[in-house]
């Protein structure tokens, strides 16, 4: 048996030069230090993405993306399809945990200043990936075509309509008309299962290739120390197996959540009914939603909601471009302001999310 494997490997090696790849993996080391734990969140995010792809494909076998059939098809998945309830519940829970994991990964990279030279572009692709996960969440939320999703999408696209200059065009494009209708569902379905996965996969490949090419970033305080004083572990098999161990634990958590708290379906969307009281977006948009609620209707001559959207847009742009304006970190200098800014952002998101939750 071993003889056949060796022969197959040699055949492939002759054509694909696998030896150089295995040399690359063998030489790859991961730094070991007090903050090494944060390295795992990139892998956990990847694991969630893979689960989403797998469960998403399974759901596609039965899901029907039209206003007349979407709700009923999910009802069918939940009650008639063998393990359909499990697949949908895992898809729903993994979506939330995916976004949470991406949040943690992004902030850990931010606090470690791992975006500094030469990893500026890795950060930029990462932030784009973060935006994509939010877009996945927003587009996927409407697909069950239930009352809550319908009105949340209405509110969400209304907010998008307030973006200066392009707002109304963007709103019309997202809705596929003046209002949220079956046309909106069709295009959200298209975004969710074709457009976004395509863009996400390209960005993800670029992101991972860059991480592999540049290796894991070391904390700033370790830079400049003699190599022999630094600890590290081989990427293969040690780090990969540790990753796998964490993935198994995460899978357990997912299974428990899916069984004990299966995804709810609610009532079918009815465009002629009134919006349910106290409608809120998903938790990952709650901090922005709550902030917009606190901003007064008019601030001087400017519309309050418009100002809020402009500020969030500016904050997103600043966040994306951190490596280019935080020049101190790239020079190896400690920049405490960045830490304070990060802490403020985390505090702001947590507090506003809690306020939105209890409101």
């Amino acid at each position: 048996m071993k003889k056949y494997f060796t022969k197959a490997y040699e055949w492939l090696d002759e054509r694909l030069d696998l030896t150089s790849l295995s040399h690359f993996i063998e030489k790859k080391y991961v730094p070991v230090h007090a903050h090494s734990i944060w390295y795992y969140f990139g892998g956990v995010s990847l694991f969630f993405f893979l689960i989403q792809v797998l469960t998403g494909i399974l759901l596609l076998f039965y899901y029907k993306g039209s206003a007349d059939l979407a709700f009923e098809s999910i009802q069918f998945i939940m009650s008639k399809v063998e393990f359909g309830w499990l697949i949908r519940s895992i898809h729903a829970w993994a979506a939330n945990l995916f976004i949470l994991s991406v949040f943690i990964h992004m902030f850990s990279v931010f606090f470690e200043k791992s975006y500094r030279k030469p990893r500026e572009l890795t950060w930029v692709t990462g932030v784009f990936l973060f935006f994509m996960t939010l877009a996945f969440g927003f587009s996927g939320y409407l697909l069950p075509w239930n009352k809550l999703a319908f009105f949340a999408t209405k509110v969400g696209t209304d907010i998008a309509g307030n973006v200066p200059i392009v707002g109304q065009i963007m709103k019309g494009f997202l809705r596929g008309g003046d209002d949220v209708t079956g046309a909106t569902l069709s295009r959200f379905f298209g975004f969710h299962v074709a457009l976004f996965p395509g863009i996400f996969t390209i960005l993800l490949v670029i992101h991972i290739v860059m991480v592999q090419r540049q290796g894991m970033s070391e904390p700033m305080e370790l830079e400049g120390r003699p190599e022999e004083t630094k600890k590290s572990m081989p990427f293969f098999p040690n780090f990969m197996l540790r990753d796998l161990l964490l993935w198994l634990l995460v899978l357990n958590v997912l299974a428990i959540l899916a069984v004990f708290f299966p995804a709810d379906l609610g009532e079918k969307a009815d465009p002629f009914s009134s919006a349910p009281a106290g409608i809120k977006p998903e938790w990952y948009f709650l901090f922005m939603f709550q902030t917009l609620k606190y901003i007064p209707g008019k601030i001087f001559i400017m519309d309050g909601e418009l100002l809020g959207i402009v500020l969030f847009g500016a904050a997103g742009l600043l966040w994306l471009l951190v490596p280019f304006w935080d020049t101190q970190s790239s020079k190896g200098l400690i920049n405490k302001k960045i830490n304070y800014l990060g802490l403020f952002a985390v505090g702001f998101i947590i507090v506003l999310t809690i306020l939105g939750w209890v409101a």
Partner: protein, 483 residues
Amino acid sequence: MKKIMLLTIPILFVYFYPAVVFAADDQCYTCHSALEDKESKLFKEDIHFKKGISCNGCHGGDKSSEDNDVAMSKEKGFIGVPKGDKITEVCAKCHASEKMMKSFGSKLPVNQYDNLINSVHGKSSTVSGSRIVNCTTCHTAHGIKSVNDPLSPVYATNIPMTCSKCHGDAAYMRTYNPGLAVDQYTKYLTSVHGTLNSKGDPKPAQCASCHGSHDIKPVKDIKSKVYPVNIPATCSKCHSDKEYMAQYKIPTDQFEKYARSVHGKALLEKNDPGAPACNSCHGNHGAAPPGVESISQVCGTCHALNADLFSQSPHKLAFEKKGYPECETCHGNHEIVTATNKMLGVDKDAVCSKCHQDQNSNGYKSAFMMRSLIDSLDNTKQSAMVLINEAEQKGMEVSDAKFKLRDINQVKLETRTQVHSFDAKKFKDIVDKGLVISADATADAKQAIHEYYFRRVGLGVSVFLISLLAFGLFLYLRKIEKK
């Protein structure tokens, strides 16, 4: 007698004094009465003339001038014969002014003008372009009498005829509302109200009692007194007034009872304009209590299947022989409540037991059987519901089973209809259909509960296996990292 004469003379003097005085100074009236024209003859009996208002009150001009050219000059405000909407505006000059009306000692309301222009009659006429109805259309001109004067066209006993002048004219009404019937007056004369009214009794309802006078709205207008949800209140204004109704010797608790009934709740609480109001059973213009024979026809207007089944049932003949009012015998009249299982069967509360008391009779046996069947359907539905709720509380998807429960409700509805055939076999066939659905829903719910426990066991096994794999991996990692 002498004393009476002595008292009467000053009273008559006080009453006619203004007219006498005004007539003396009133050159308009003096000339026109000398001409013996129709207007002046009529005006002599007009309430306005008696209150001292002269021709110039409406037509303008100077009543003190003997010169025609001066008296009827534009400079003196003469407007000639007011036409169209101008008529109502002339009347409104006084009738819409509280101060003016007080000056004549009148207690008449001053909102007639506003009411009229906002009423259905205040709309533009298709023929003249002015309002459909102006004051003189109903009250006439020059010979206007008090509404309490039996000679007035708007006195209670004259109103039906006054209204029917237009509303009974098919050609005229076609130009405004071709869909509106023109036989109201004919029907009214056949009604209890109309019969009494035509005998000279001003108390029974006539057109204005229900539709209003100046403020008449179209029936479809929610503000109309005869809009379906307003009808019970309109009728009860008289019919709930014990004092007013005393002389007619009929009960005055109909509204109270109706409000408690299933029809009343639908109309008055749920504001369902399709629910039956008083007129649905009694008629409107031809209102009368339905006779014993016509009750099932009246109820059958809406409850067609029930009426049909009843008319083919053995009860039809039996009730006819005994002179029992059909539907009313079991359901009552104004206070018809939602039919429950309790009405059926041989218990003391059941309506069947009022007649079917012989335990060996077919009627008794059928009633007993039908009650048992409907109770068993209710019981199975109840237990299915408990199981479905339990499964739902456990987070299971049971929409199919819940849908089946709705089918059972449909079956129950069918039994409610079928009971009117009083055929226990047909009744059983329908109940059996419900029992099958109920068993199906119960099986679904049990399956969902079983699935719930299966999921937990499955989770336990999966978590154990994954944990085992993770533990193995952990041990392997420890081993390779020790090296």
